[in-house]
């Protein structure tokens, strides 16, 4: 059951349709409602390994629906400290709850200040208008 369209206020956004919830020197990362809607029901999540490095603006994994594959672009730089096992088993969680149960990875940030360079919800919504 796909969620209704929403873009929470308390998150930071990346132009490749990813979100980050920053908490001190860690962040939880996922894809936005717009991204899951464009892909359709997800069937597979290809995550990075725990301990792997991720870099801002670069791919850290993939999600697949029946008809499309999408690179997951990391909004921030750091080390992967946790991968969402539940999404690996039930990828459709991302469609149902993209900002909650549908989170993808947790990162320990190399530079907590880097999040300031991300978009706030107003800027992200403005970007969507242009799509």
């Amino acid at each position: 059951m796909a969620a209704d369209e929403s873009y929470p206020e308390n998150l930071r956004y990346h132009r490749e349709h990813d979100w980050a919830r920053v908490d001190g020197d860690t962040a939880v990362v996922g894809i936005t409602w717009y991204a899951q809607d464009a892909l359709g029901e997800l069937v597979h999540f290809e995550p990075p390994d725990e301990g792997a490095s991720v870099a801002a603006d670069e791919s850290y994994g993939e999600v697949e629906s029946v008809k499309a594959v999408s690179d997951l672009i990391s909004p921030l730089t750091g080390e992967v400290i946790e991968v969402n096992q539940m999404v690996q088993e039930e990828p459709e969680k991302v469609n149902d709850d993209p900002y909650g149960d549908g989170w993808l990875i947790k990162i320990r940030l190399s530079d907590p200040g880097e999040a300031d360079g991300l978009l706030d919800v107003a800027a992200y919504k403005a970007l969507l208008q242009e799509q």
């Binding site: 290809e46 629906s65 029946v66 008809k67 499309a68 594959v69």
Partner: protein, 440 residues
Amino acid sequence: MRYLSLTDSDQEAMLAAIGVSSIDELFQDIPERVRFDRPLDLEPALSEPELVAHLEQLAGRNAHTGRELSFLGAGIYDHYVPAIVDAILARGEFLTAYTPYQPEMSQGVLQAIFEYQTVICELTGMDVSNASGYDGTTVAADACYVAKHTTGRTKVVLTEALNPQVRQVVKTYAPGFGLEVVEVPHTDGITDPDDVRKAAEDAACVIFQQPNFFGCLEPAPELAAVANEAEALAVAHVDPVSLGVLEAPGGYGCAIAIGEGQGAGNYQSYGGPHYGFIAMRSDYIRRMPGRIVGETTDTAGERGYVLTLQTREQHIRREKATSNITTNQTLLALAGLAHLSWLGPQGLRELGETCMSLAAYAKDRLGLPLVFPDRTTFKEFAVRAGRPAEEAIRAAREQGVHPGYALKRDYSGMEDALLVCVTEKRSPGDIDRLAEVLAA
């Protein structure tokens, strides 16, 4: 023209509807200078009877196995193709359908491919098969691509006893794939696992053939073990006709099984079209090249079949696809399914046993020195003809018998060696004739 339905009045009406006055106007976007302004330099059109006569004339100049008693194998085999295969392939629906991208229109083809995938997994002891590859050579290149992306390594190891055509094709693909190819020589007709052990360090995969190109039985479990010790993928290139009597690659530690399907259900047809098969452990399913059919249900809850995991494929993943393959060899794979269904498990075992016992009889009856006397062989074996192989072949063919393949074409030190193949289509009487002809 007989393949066109268009009449003059059709053409008039259609041009009027489009709003142009001639066919030439439809091509107005083609710049003048690239227009082809003369007739094609092709021979005049043939009516159907003339066409058939012309093709019969060409066909009549080939020494096929109906005219020449053949002991030629070396990768393509004169096995019996049962009449039901011809009947099934003649069904226009199978013959003229395309890739089942619209599954509701193609449940027959999709289910047949699902059944084919099952049969290949059963033969090879693997978890997943694709819907076919081009032939027994390109599937080896496919296996190398999978191994590279799975292990991250760039060296592939091939045994010298692997079919020379397979090795050539892998070497042609290797530069584009960024692969280094290493070959391990045979020792008296088979491959020594210790030789492979050295080569397999840092290898992405080790590919060996069972039975090998010389017809000899390799120490397959040990070869697979050596690959696995080095954390390289063990890949066995196998003869489907042998898999009723020989153990399946999945049963002795292989990650991937590949092969040429022709011997199971296709005519020789001067080398093609045939079908390659590739099957692997389920760990690698997302790396599988080509099409895969999966089961599902429709909106009414009924069982049905669809192409699945298409995100591996070129039409979605494009430059990151597991392969660029689109058109494959479905019709020939269907022939394979029909043939293997016709045989059943008992029939496949009997087929293997018959070929082996006929070949053993031939080894003995020919009375010629064996190139590899201490080796157990399946349906092929190498003998020394006592004179240059091409002379032995010419003399035998003058007597209406083709005695086998000249191994010197691919291997050194084989000046007088013939690779003799005996299938269930040859009788003991035929073998006696071969013995006679070679002794002369």
